[in-house]
C-alpha cells in the first residue's frame, strides 16, 4: 500500500520506478552515513572554534610558510612519481605483452601491503651510512669514499621517493581498470591511423583515463597528507606534523584543530578544482567492454619493459619484505609470545574485516542514493561521506571521542533511569570505536570505487530494467552488482589492507588489554628498535598479500588475442 502512495509522488522523477521499503532504507542509510562522517568533522570544527590568541601570528610568521612549502612539494613530488610509475606501468602491462608480464601483474600492486612508516625505516636503515648499501659499496672502495655515494634519504626528495614507491599502486590499480575496458574504438582508430604507441598513450589513453587517474591520485595525495610516521622520521614538515606539534608542544588543541580544518579546506578545494576541470566532459563508458588487444614487445625493448615494471615492485615491495623477513628470522620469536601474536593478528583481522564490510555497504548506499535520485543534496551527502579520508587518523580519532562517548554516556544515563546495570563504555570499551573510526576514515575508498563503477554503467540499463518492471533493488541485484563486482572487490581489498595498516586511530581508540599488529609494531618502534617488531610487520604484509594478489588477478581480464 505504502509503495503505491510513494510511487505516486515519484512520478515527477523522470526515471522513477516503484519505490520499495528497501529503497527508503537505502536512502536513510545514506543520510545516516553522511551524518556519521560529519560527526568527527563537526567536533573538530567545534574544537577549532575556540579562540587561540597569539597562535596564528606565530604560525604565519614561522610555521606555515615552511609547512606549506614542504607539504605542497611533497604532494606534487609524490603525485608526479606515482603518476609516472602507476600510469606508465599500468599502460605497459595492459596494452602490451613482454617477458614476465604474467608475474608482474601480481607483483605491481604489492607495495600496498607495506605501510609508509615501515618503508621509511627500512630504507633509512639500508641506505644510511654503516648500512647494508654502505657495506656493499665498501667492498669496492674505501668506506669514506663509499659514504659519498649514499643518497640523502632523510630529506624532501627522499620522502618523495619512499612514499611514492609504496603508494603508486593506488594509481596503478585505478588506471589499469580504466585502460582495460575504455574507449577501445578510439584506441583502435588511432592504431589504424598509424599513431605511434606513445602518441596513443599520451593523446588518447591518458586523457580518457583522467577520471580514474584522478581517483588514484586523490587516494595517494590524501595518504601522503595524512602520513605522520614517515614524514616526521624523514624530517619533512607536513601539515600533519604541524598539527601534532601545535597540539602536543605548542599546547594548543584548538590551534591544532584549526590547522586541521585549514588542511581540510585545502583538500576540499583540490577536489572541487578537479571536478571543475572535468565538468562538461564525457568519458567513455562500458558500452564496448571488449578486451584490449595487447601489442607484443619483442627483444631488448621487451626486456626493458620488464625492468621498468619490475623496478618499482622490487623497491616498493621486495626490498622491505626481504628486510622484514631477515630481521624476523634473526630475532625469531624471542621477544614475542606466540599466543599474544595470534591474539594481535585476530584483533587486526576482525576489526579490518568488520570495518571493510560496513564501509562497503555504507559506500554502496551513499552512491545508490545519488544514482537513484541525482540532485545537489545527494551529491553533498556523497561528498560529506568521503571527508573522513581527508583527516589525519589521530585527528579523526580525537574528533570521534566526543560523539562516541556521548553515546556511551547516554547509554549509562538511560541505564540509570531504567534501573538496569550500567553498560560502561559501550563503544569505546568494546572495539566498536575502532571499527567506526576505520569506516569513517576509509569510506571514501568504496564510495569512490563504486561511483566510478556506476559511472560506467549506462543509465539506459536502469531504464530498460525499469520498463520491464524490475524494482530498483532487483535492478541493483541483477544488473548493477554483477557489473560492479570488480569495483567492490577492489574497494574491499584496499579498505581491508588500509585498516590493517592504520595506526594512530587504533592506538587511541582501542579497548584496554587489546593490541593489534600495527599497535604491536608501534610498541617496538617507539623504543627506537622497530626491527624487533619485524615479525608483526611481516604478519601485516602476509595478511595483505593474499587480498592484493586476488585484486591483481581480478584486474586482469582473460587473455585477448595477442
Amino acid at each position: 500500500m505504502r509503495d503505491r502512495l510513494n510511487s505516486g509522488s515519484n512520478n515527477r522523477d523522470a526515471s522513477a520506478v516503484r519505490t520499495s521499503g528497501g529503497e527508503t532504507a537505502v536512502r536513510a542509510i545514506a543520510t545516516l552515513t553522511a551524518a556519521l562522517v560529519a560527526l568527527p568533522v563537526i567536533s573538530i570544527v567545534v574544537l577549532a572554534a575556540q579562540p587561540v590568541p597569539d597562535l596564528w601570528p606565530h604560525l604565519i610568521s614561522y610555521v606555515l610558510p615552511g609547512t606549506l612549502f614542504d607539504t605542497l612539494a611533497l604532494l606534487a613530488g609524490v603525485a608526479a612519481l606515482t603518476l609516472a610509475i602507476g600510469a606508465g606501468t599500468a599502460w605497459l602491462v595492459t596494452a602490451h605483452d613482454f617477458p614476465g608480464r604474467g608475474l608482474l601483474i601480481w607483483l605491481m600492486p604489492m607495495p600496498l601491503a607495506i605501510p609508509t612508516y615501515i618503508a621509511a625505516y627500512v630504507y633509512v636503515d639500508l641506505f644510511e651510512p654503516l648500512g647494508l648499501a654502505h657495506k656493499m659499496l665498501g667492498a669496492l672502495m674505501p668506506m669514506q669514499q663509499a659514504a659519498q655515494w649514499l643518497p640523502q634519504l632523510r630529506s624532501l626528495p627522499g620522502a618523495i621517493f619512499i612514499i611514492g614507491l609504496v603508494l603508486y599502486p593506488y594509481v596503478y590499480l585505478s588506471a589499469r581498470a580504466m585502460f582495460q575496458t575504455q574507449g577501445l574504438d578510439a584506441l583502435e582508430a588511432a592504431r589504424v591511423l598509424g599513431a605511434r604507441p606513445w602518441a596513443i598513450a599520451w593523446r588518447v589513453t591518458l586523457p580518457m583515463a583522467r577520471p580514474a587517474l584522478a581517483v588514484g591520485l586523490a587516494l595517494v595525495s590524501l595518504e601522503t597528507l595524512n602520513d605522520i610516521g614517515a614524514s616526521e622520521y624523514l624530517g619533512v614538515r607536513t601539515f600533519t606534523v604541524s598539527i601534532f606539534n601545535t597540539w602536543l608542544n605548542r599546547s594548543s588543541l584548538p590551534g591544532a584543530a584549526q590547522i586541521a580544518v585549514l588542511a581540510l579546506i585545502l583538500v576540499a578545494l583540490l577536489v572541487v578544482l578537479e571536478r571543475q576541470g572535468r565538468h562538461h566532459r564525457t568519458y567513455a563508458g562500458a558500452e564496448n567492454p571488449r578486451t584490449i588487444r595487447r601489442r607484443r614487445i619483442d627483444g631488448a625493448k621487451g626486456w626493458l619493459a620488464t625492468v621498468v615494471c619490475l623496478l618499482p615492485a622490487v623497491l616498493g615491495f621486495a626490498v622491505p619484505l626481504l628486510f622484514l623477513i631477515r630481521e624476523s628470522l634473526r630475532r625469531g620469536l624471542a621477544d614475542h609470545s606466540r599466543a599474544a601474536l595470534i591474539a594481535d593478528t585476530l584483533h587486526s583481522l576482525s576489526y579490518a574485516a568488520i570495518a571493510t564490510l560496513i564501509a562497503l555497504l555504507l559506500g554502496l548506499a551513499v552512491v545508490l542514493a545519488s544514482r537513484w535520485r541525482p540532485g545537489r543534496l545527494r551529491t553533498a551527502l556523497g561528498t560529506i561521506a568521503r571527508a573522513g579520508y581527508a583527516l589525519p587518523g589521530l585527528v579523526l580519532a580525537l574528533g570521534l571521542l566526543a560523539p562516541l562517548l556521548a553515546v556511551d554516556n547516554a547509554a549509562n544515563a538511560l541505564a540509570r533511569v531504567t534501573g538496569l546495570a550500567a553498560p560502561g563504555l559501550l563503544l569505546i570499551g568494546s572495539g566498536a570505536a575502532v571499527v567506526i573510526a576505520y569506516v569513517v576514515r576509509f569510506l571514501a575508498v568504496p564510495a569512490g570505487f563504486i561511483e566510478a563503477g556506476f559511472a560506467r554503467i549506462p543509465r539506459d540499463y536502469d531504464d530498460s530494467a525499469a520498463i520491464s518492471g524490475a524494482s530498483r533493488l532487483t535492478t541493483l541485484r541483477k544488473v548493477h552488482l554483477p557489473l560492479l563486482t570488480p569495483a567492490l572487490i577492489g574497494a574491499a581489498i584496499i579498505v581491508f589492507v588500509d585498516c590493517l595498516k592504520e595506526l594512530p586511530a587504533t592506538l587511541l581508540l582501542r579497548p584496554m588489554n587489546v593490541e593489534t599488529l600495527a599497535t604491536s609494531i608501534y610498541q617496538y618502534a617507539s623504543r627506537g628498535s622497530f626491527e624487533d617488531g619485524a615479525l608483526a610487520a611481516l604478519l601485516i604484509v602476509a595478511a595483505s598479500i593474499g587480498p592484493v594478489a586476488w585484486l591483481a588477478r581480478f584486474s586482469d581480464v582473460p587473455d585477448g588475442p595477442a
Binding site: 606565530h58 651510512p129 608542544n249 589521530l394 560502561g424 571499527v435 579497548p511 584496554m512 627506537g528
Partner: protein, 341 residues
C-alpha cells in the same frame, strides 16, 4: 535477500567483540592508561599482580590519552596515567583530570624536585638528555649545554627534531635557566652548528656520529644502553661513541621524568594509590629502571651498571614542574629560529 548473510556474520562478529569489553570498576583491578608501551611495563605489572593479587588492565598510546580520559568523564575506567615525559604530565594536570595522591609513602620515597607541589603526580624514573660523543674525534670530557652553541662545533652536531618532546623539555630547561633572549641566541648557535637538518631518532643520531657525519649527537641515556646491550646490529654505533653527561654551566644534567598521575574519576582509587606506592618500592624501582635503562627516582636504589658507567649523574636542581611551565615558550622559539628547517 542476498544481503542477509554478511549482515548476520557481522552481527556475530560484533557480539564477539562486545563481549570482550572489560568490566568497569571491580575490586581487585586497576586500570592503567599508559604512554609507556604496554610490552615494556607488562612484566612489572605482572610482578605487581603477583604481590598484591590486583589485576592490571592497560591501554597504551602515543598521544591523546588525556583527551580520552577527559571525554570519558565520569564513566572513565582510568585509575592512573603513566607518562614518559613531563610534557604529558603537564597537559594532564592542565586538563584537570588528576587528583592529589595523598600518600605518605610517596612523599617519603620521592625527592620534592621530582614530585608535583600539588601532589597530582610523581616521577617514577628518570632519563637524562646527554651527548653521544665520537670516541675518535672528541677528546673533551666535560661539555656544557651552553657550549653546544660554540662555533668550534660548527657542522659537528646531530640532533632529532627540535619539536620532539625530549628536545622540547631540554630547551624548556634551558629557558628556565637563562630566559628567552639568551635561549633564542643559544638555539640559533646550536642550529648553526648542526651537520644536517634535524630528523630521525636518537639512535640515528648515534649512527650519524659513528658514520662521521658529525662529532656530537644529542640523545637520551637509555638509547645508548639499549644499542650497547640489546641490539647486535646497533652495537657498533654505541661503541663508536661515548656518553658525556653534559651540565648547565654551574648546574646539573637535564633529566626528564617518567611519571604517574592519579585520575580524578578513578573508580579504583585505592588500588591506583597502591600501584603508585608499589612502583616506588625498592623492588619495582630496580625492576623498572633496569628494564628501561633509566635512573630510579628513589635514592639508594642500585643503578644499572651500563648507565652507571656514564659517570655520576648530577641531575639539574630545577624542579621539573618549573621546566614544564616553559614547554610552550620553548616550542615557539624552535619555530622562531627555524630549528627544524
Amino acid at each position: 535477500m542476498s544481503n542477509h548473510h554478511p549482515a548476520r556474520a557481522a552481527l556475530m562478529f560484533c557480539a564477539i567483540l562486545f563481549s570482550a569489553a572489560p568490566a568497569l570498576a571491580q575490586s581487585g583491578e586497576v586500570n592503567v592508561y599508559s604512554y609507556r608501551e604496554s610490552k615494556l611495563v607488562q612484566p612489572l605489572f605482572d610482578a605487581f599482580t603477583k604481590d598484591t593479587g590486583i589485576k592490571v588492565n592497560i591501554v597504551s598510546a602515543s598521544s591523546g590519552l588525556e583527551q580520552r580520559i577527559k571525554t570519558e568523564g565520569a564513566s572513565s575506567p582510568a585509575d592512573v596515567l603513566l607518562t614518559v615525559d613531563i610534557g604529558r604530565i603537564d597537559e594532564a594536570v592542565a586538563a584537570g583530570i588528576s587528583q592529589p595522591i595523598k600518600s605518605e609513602a610517596v612523599t617519603k620515597a620521592v625527592p620534592a624536585q621530582y614530585r608535583d607541589p600539588n601532589d597530582n603526580w610523581t616521577g617514577i624514573s628518570m632519563r637524562a638528555r646527554v651527548i653521544y660523543a665520537s670516541k675518535e674525534r672528541v677528546k673533551q670530557d666535560a661539555i656544557t649545554y651552553e657550549e653546544l652553541a660554540d662555533p668550534k662545533w660548527k657542522g659537528k652536531i646531530c640532533i632529532r627534531s627540535g619539536q620532539h618532546i625530549y628536545n622540547n623539555a631540554l630547551f624548556a630547561a634551558y629557558l628556565a635557566h637563562h630566559g628567552e633572549a639568551k635561549t633564542e641566541e643559544w638555539l640559533r648557535g646550536v642550529k648553526a652548528n648542526l651537520a644536517q637538518k634535524p630528523s630521525g631518532g636518537d639512535r640515528e643520531t648515534a649512527r650519524d656520529v659513528a658514520a662521521a657525519k658529525c662529532d656530537l649527537g644529542i640523545g637520551n641515556t637509555y638509547y645508548w644502553a639499549l644499542m650497547m646491550n640489546k641490539d647486535a646490529d646497533k652495537k657498533p654505533w654505541a661503541e663508536a661513541t661515548r656518553v658525556v653527561l653534559p651540565t648547565f654551566a654551574g648546574g646539573g644534567t637535564h633529566v626528564n621524568l617518567s611519571g604517574v598521575l592519579l585520575i580524578k574519576t578513578a573508580p579504583n582509587r585505592a588500588n591506583g594509590v597502591k600501584l603508585i606506592e608499589w612502583l616506588l618500592g625498592d623492588t619495582a624501582q630496580q625492576l623498572y629502571a633496569d628494564a628501561n635503562y633509566e635512573y630510579p627516582v628513589r635514592a639508594g636504589v642500585a643503578i644499572n651498571p651500563t648507565i652507571a658507567g656514564y659517570g655520576t649523574l648530577n641531575p639539574d636542581k630545577l624542579p621539573i614542574a618549573d621546566i614544564a611551565k616553559q614547554r610552550k615558550a620553548a616550542a615557539a622559539l624552535v619555530d622562531k629560529v627555524g630549528f627544524d628547517n
